[in-house]
């Protein structure tokens, strides 16, 4: 009974809506990377872009009735977690050396 309701849910929302939503979220992430100078915010916007792609892949997988898409989302989440851990460690090292989180300080790759 419950699965019938879920199936109707999938039929109710067109796939184009998910593609549109993911495109908008991805462009907001790109905008944030271009707009802000704080390295922490830039990392957050990269997370936003990864999430937009994840949502799109899950949507395609659900519309095809295929579980491989969800497995790939799972792996992308694992890679994103590792990326955040290493990125924040690099950020801590940058902050320890330059005493701020401005991305423009890193343009020369030395200090």
């Amino acid at each position: 009974m419950e699965q019938q309701i879920v199936a109707q849910t999938l039929y109710g929302i067109p796939l184009n809506a998910y593609i549109l939503l993911s495109a908008v979220l991805f462009s907001i992430g790109v905008l944030g990377v271009l707009y802000r100078r704080n390295i922490i915010i830039i990392l957050m916007c990269i997370e936003l872009m990864l999430n937009a792609v994840n949502l799109l892949m899950a949507a395609f997988g659900a519309f095809r009735g295929d579980s491989n898409g969800q497995i790939f989302v799972f792996f992308i989440m694992a890679v994103a977690a590792a990326e955040v851990a290493v990125g924040l460690a690099i950020l801590v090292m940058i902050y320890r050396n330059t005493k701020n989180t401005d991305i423009d300080n890193m343009s020369k790759l030395k200090w």
């Binding site: 999938l10 659900a62 977690a81 801590v92």
Partner: protein
């Protein structure tokens, strides 16, 4: 009904994503990002991917956001310490991001309404089915992910050390 839930979650996600970019205080950005993540988890539930929704909340709202908040707390960042670009770069960034969005959305213009290709497998997102696929077809990538985590952990500890000797 579910269409309204979809619209509400999409609106919430897009609005809080904008607030991540435009809020001055980094702590507010993190909090808005948590709202975005929860609405994306709601989308996963709408897509009948319960396992993904649970993992998304645990990994993003539970682990990654705590890392971000911890780093911000350690640096004592607030509104005064926030670096700002000048107005020209902000304008250029907004125009570039907007044009990118227009290109992405405009490429969808000619696409006709996409129907379901085959009858969707309703149990595709359940843990039982996903576990079968993950441990049978994707065994090697799963083990590689553990090696990736180990190397990421070692790298993070190494980078975070005070003096590299």
């Amino acid at each position: 009904m579910t269409l309204y839930i979809f619209y509400f979650l999409s609106f919430l996600a897009v609005l809080s994503a904008f607030m991540v970019v435009y809020s001055k205080n980094p702590v507010h950005s993190v909090l808005y990002l948590i709202v975005t993540f929860f609405s994306i988890a709601g989308h996963y539930i709408l897509l009948n991917a319960q396992f993904l929704a649970a993992v998304h909340i645990i990994v993003y709202a539970g682990a990654i956001m705590v890392l971000f908040l911890y780093v911000i707390m350690m640096f004592n960042l607030n509104k005064e310490a926030e670096p700002h670009k000048d107005a020209y770069i902000k304008l250029a960034a907004t125009i570039a991001g907007g044009i990118f969005m227009i290109v992405l959305i405009g490429s969808l213009k000619g696409v006709e309404h996409i129907e379901n290709l085959n009858t969707p497998n309703q149990s595709a997102g359940l843990i039982k089915n996903l576990g079968n696929v993950l441990y049978r077809d994707y065994m090697l990538p799963f083990e590689m992910a553990s090696i990736l985590f180990l190397s990421a952990m070692v790298g993070a500890v190494f980078l975070g050390k005070n003096e590299l000797k």
